[in-house]
């Protein structure tokens, strides 16, 4: 008899009898559901945050910061240096022939979370080219701030995390409050932030220098020339990065941290589930002792028997993982959350669910291996005699 056919038949018999071991089988299902539910719930934060960071970056734009800066806020670019940067080659031109570049400001603004705790939100400055550089920017309600005026616009998601982030609210800045006159969306991290006129904001918070310069590249190929011109200019001490690279760089710290924590907890739980899986599969093999021995006696080989045990473990484990993933997805996918000043949507992506299924298979294989070997190795006569 063909080995595949044998595997099919033995597995079929096996699955038909799972009903008899329902409660014990549920140990694996519930165990994996808990492991994957917890793991994916935690990773939904990192996943969503990374996705938002990556979306904010546009490979057609480059960001210039002072050498070694780990954040826009820590970077400082003096006005005369900003002019040098904007004169560099490789920058796209606006319709009026001027370089499509915008020196910007980036500052924390003390705010309160909806739960009353102190936090910071990000206040960004847009200069004359701020909107032209960002085709993803659209006003949603109210109006744009006027240049030179002490007024702000707010991203559509800010109000889901922080107090006082609606059109008509006022934000405390030095020398008096600034009204919020409109709301906007960009579909990325900026949706959680505040924007004002760069020069006016700088005057208010007493900043003599810009934080960074954002430029639209003439073409993807023009980046090396742009970067080269900046790094070889002895008057400048700056780093130039594609905006996508920049967001990748600044997200590394927190994403490593959260990933380590989530996987640490996930692995501990998976070890617990693994022992449960072991336990269940040993019991299942014991319960099927007679059946297995009979099959062996009528000519089935040991391999299909072992495979059927592994398959049972895998099906139960994957079922559990899918339930856990489903719970995490239902609870967190698409929920707007925040960490620090970043506001973003939590996501339970297909990639995460795929990873969860791999975990499930790994637990099943590890947990089912020894029981399956025992099932296959047990002497037929002894098993037939056993009660």
């Amino acid at each position: 008899m063909n080995i595949l056919r044998q595997i099919g038949i033995v597995s079929l018999i096996n699955f038909r009898s799972i009903r008899l071991r329902l409660w014990r089988s549920l140990v694996i299902v519930v165990g994996m559901a808990c492991v994957i539910g917890v793991l994916l719930s935690m990773l939904s934060l990192t996943d969503g945050m990374l996705a938002a960071y990556m979306k904010t970056g546009d490979p057609g734009r480059a960001l210039v910061v002072s050498t070694g800066s780990q954040s826009e806020g820590n970077s400082s670019i003096a006005r005369d240096k900003a002019r040098l940067i904007m004169d560099a080659p490789g920058i796209a031109k606006a319709p009026d022939g001027s370089p499509l570049a915008d020196p910007g400001i980036n500052s924390g603004v003390p705010v309160y979370r909806l739960n009353g705790r102190q936090a910071y939100n990000t206040l960004r400055g847009f200069g004359p080219k701020g909107v032209m550089l960002r085709p993803e920017f659209h006003m949603v309600s109210g109006r744009m701030f006027r240049s030179g005026m002490r007024e702000l616009i707010v991203g559509v998601s800010a109000k889901t995390q922080f107090k006082g982030m609606n059109v008509g609210d006022k934000v405390i800045l030095p020398d008096g409050e600034w009204p919020i006159v409109g709301s906007y969306t960009t579909g990325d991290l900026l949706d959680g932030q505040l924007i004002g006129d760069t020069e006016t904001v700088m005057k208010a918070i007493r900043r003599p220098a810009y934080n960074s310069v954002l430029v639209r590249l003439a073409s993807p190929q023009s980046f090396p020339a742009f970067k080269g011109a900046l790094t070889t200019n002895p008057a400048l001490a700056v780093d130039a990065m594609l905006q996508t690279e920049w967001y990748k760089k600044i997200s590394e710290g927190f994403s490593t941290f959260f990933t380590v924590v989530a996987y640490g907890i996930g692995i501990i739980m998976a070890v617990g589930a693994l022992f449960g899986c072991f336990n269940t599969m040993y019991a299942a093999v014991a319960a099927r002792g007679r059946e297995i021995a009979t099959l062996r006696a009528i000519g089935y080989s040991a391999f299909p028997v072992a495979i059927s045990v592994l398959l049972e473990a895998a099906v139960l484990s994957v079922t559990g993982a899918l339930i856990g993933a489903g719970i995490a997805w239902a609870l967190y996918d698409g929920v707007v959350g925040s960490f620090g000043a970043s506001v973003f949507k939590l996501t339970v992506s297909p990639a995460l669910i795929g990873m969860a299924l791999l975990w499930a298979v790994a637990v099943a294989v590890l947990g089912g291996l020894f029981p399956s070997i025992r099932a296959a190795r047990r002497p037929v006569v002894e098993a037939l005699r056993a009660t």
């Binding site: 719930s41 739960n115 995390q161 030095p174 617990g272 336990n279």
Partner: protein
């Protein structure tokens, strides 16, 4: 206690099952210990936080505010002591190895007297410009002992001589404190100040205050905020009590998360132990019928089943929390160096919660089998008809 041999025999009837159940429960309680231990740390930090200490820093970032701000703060009514510090952020060898040194002035002991650094140790640092005092977590991370040289690179702080390296001498190593989960390093304010270009000198990144009276510290904090609100250097002020209360981590509710994880772990083992005990009772149904026949009361049988169910739970809880205590100490080594993560502590409350959860899991697991045993028809059970 006279049931003990019976219970032991029941547990060891299937040693594989017993051991696997124990391991599973142990793992779940390891997680439980780490999670609830983290909550315990947050509670302890909140409790240890001083109501009379106040922090104030520039509301809108920048390179710091003139040191005169500290003197103005000192003149505010209700302020007892003031110290100012500069921050020296950087890395050791590789930008991945983030490090942060607090450069303190001569008044540090009057505000941070409770940080486990003795007056003599503060004095050593204040007298030696390149001297530092490290907490054990940091000393271990950079593999330093007293007398060693500690070298770091800072790209953020501009030196007058254009260099980026900073050399320190380790003068003292002290115990860690719960409110600084990532440990701490204190250096000398004069070192960083005099190394900067003239235009950057005389600035401070943070001013720390001790109030006359803990009860009025919130009012003092408000006074500081108001004094600087419309100045060139608006300040952001918070009392240590408020800053450390609750369990906010960048807006995440840590307690909610840790409790959820601990609960999921408990649910996972509840299913396992529940099944184990149900199976064990089912296999020995006839034996229980015999026990009842020879005069064991329902109560005695109930106690036996509960104890059999409780044995792996209690043992697993004890082992698990023990492992968690050991693991907790390894966490600083596993984390990226820049992250200050509070370490779980196995406080008495954690032990109480672990014991209570273990008993609850044992009781819930045993509930259904006990019900079946109470309702059993002895005659049919003895004949093996159920």
């Amino acid at each position: 206690m006279r049931y003990l041999p019976l219970i032991w025999a029941a547990v060891m009837r299937k040693p594989t099952r017993a051991i696997l159940t124990l391991l599973s429960v142990t793992v779940a309680f390891t997680l439980f210990g780490l999670m609830i231990g983290l909550n315990a740390t947050f509670d302890m930090v909140a409790e240890k936080a001083r109501a009379d200490r106040i922090f104030t820093w520039p509301r809108f970032g920048g390179n710091g505010v003139p040191v005169a701000v500290a003197r103005q703060v000192a003149a505010i009514p209700g302020v007892k002591a003031v110290t100012a510090m500069n921050f020296l952020p950087g890395y050791v060898q590789d930008p991945k190895n983030q490090v942060f040194v607090l450069m303190v002035d001569q008044n540090v002991a009057s505000v941070f007297g409770d940080y486990g650094v003795s007056p003599e140790q503060w004095n050593m640092v204040l007298k030696d410009r390149t001297g530092i005092v490290m907490s054990r977590i940091q000393a271990q991370r950079w593999n330093k002992k007293i007398g060693d040289t500690f070298t770091m690179v800072s790209k953020q702080i501009k030196r007058a001589d254009g260099k980026t390296g900073w050399d320190f001498k380790v003068l003292a190593i002290v115990d860690d404190i719960p409110q600084a989960g990532n440990g701490f390093i204190f250096g000398n304010y004069d070192y960083i100040d005099k190394a900067k270009p003239l235009a950057d000198q005389g600035k401070v990144n943070e001013v720390d205050i001790l109030a006359d009276d803990p009860a009025s510290s919130a009012a003092v904090a408000e006074r500081i905020d108001r004094k600087f609100a419309n100045s060139a250097t608006p300040m952001q002020t918070i009392t240590e009590k408020l800053a450390r209360s609750g369990n906010d981590f960048g807006g995440l509710d840590i307690k909610k998360i840790t409790r959820g994880v601990a609960l999921a772990g408990m649910f996972m083992v509840l299913f396992l132990t529940g099944n184990g005990i149900a199976e064990s009772v089912r296999e020995r149904f006839a034996e229980f019928a015999t026990l009842k026949t020879i005069g064991f009361s329902d109560r005695a049988v109930t106690i036996m089943v509960v104890l059999e169910s409780a044995l792996p739970c209690i043992l697993g809880a004890a082992l698990g929390v023990g492992i968690a205590a050991v693991l907790a100490r390894q966490i600083p080594k596993l984390m990226p160096s820049g992250f200050g993560m509070p370490l779980p502590t196995m406080s008495p409350m954690v032990l109480v919660w672990a014991a209570a959860s273990a008993f609850l899991v044992a009781l819930l697991s045993a509930a259904l089998p006990i019900l079946r045993l109470r309702q059993m028809d002895i005659a049919s059970a003895l004949s093996g008809r159920t």
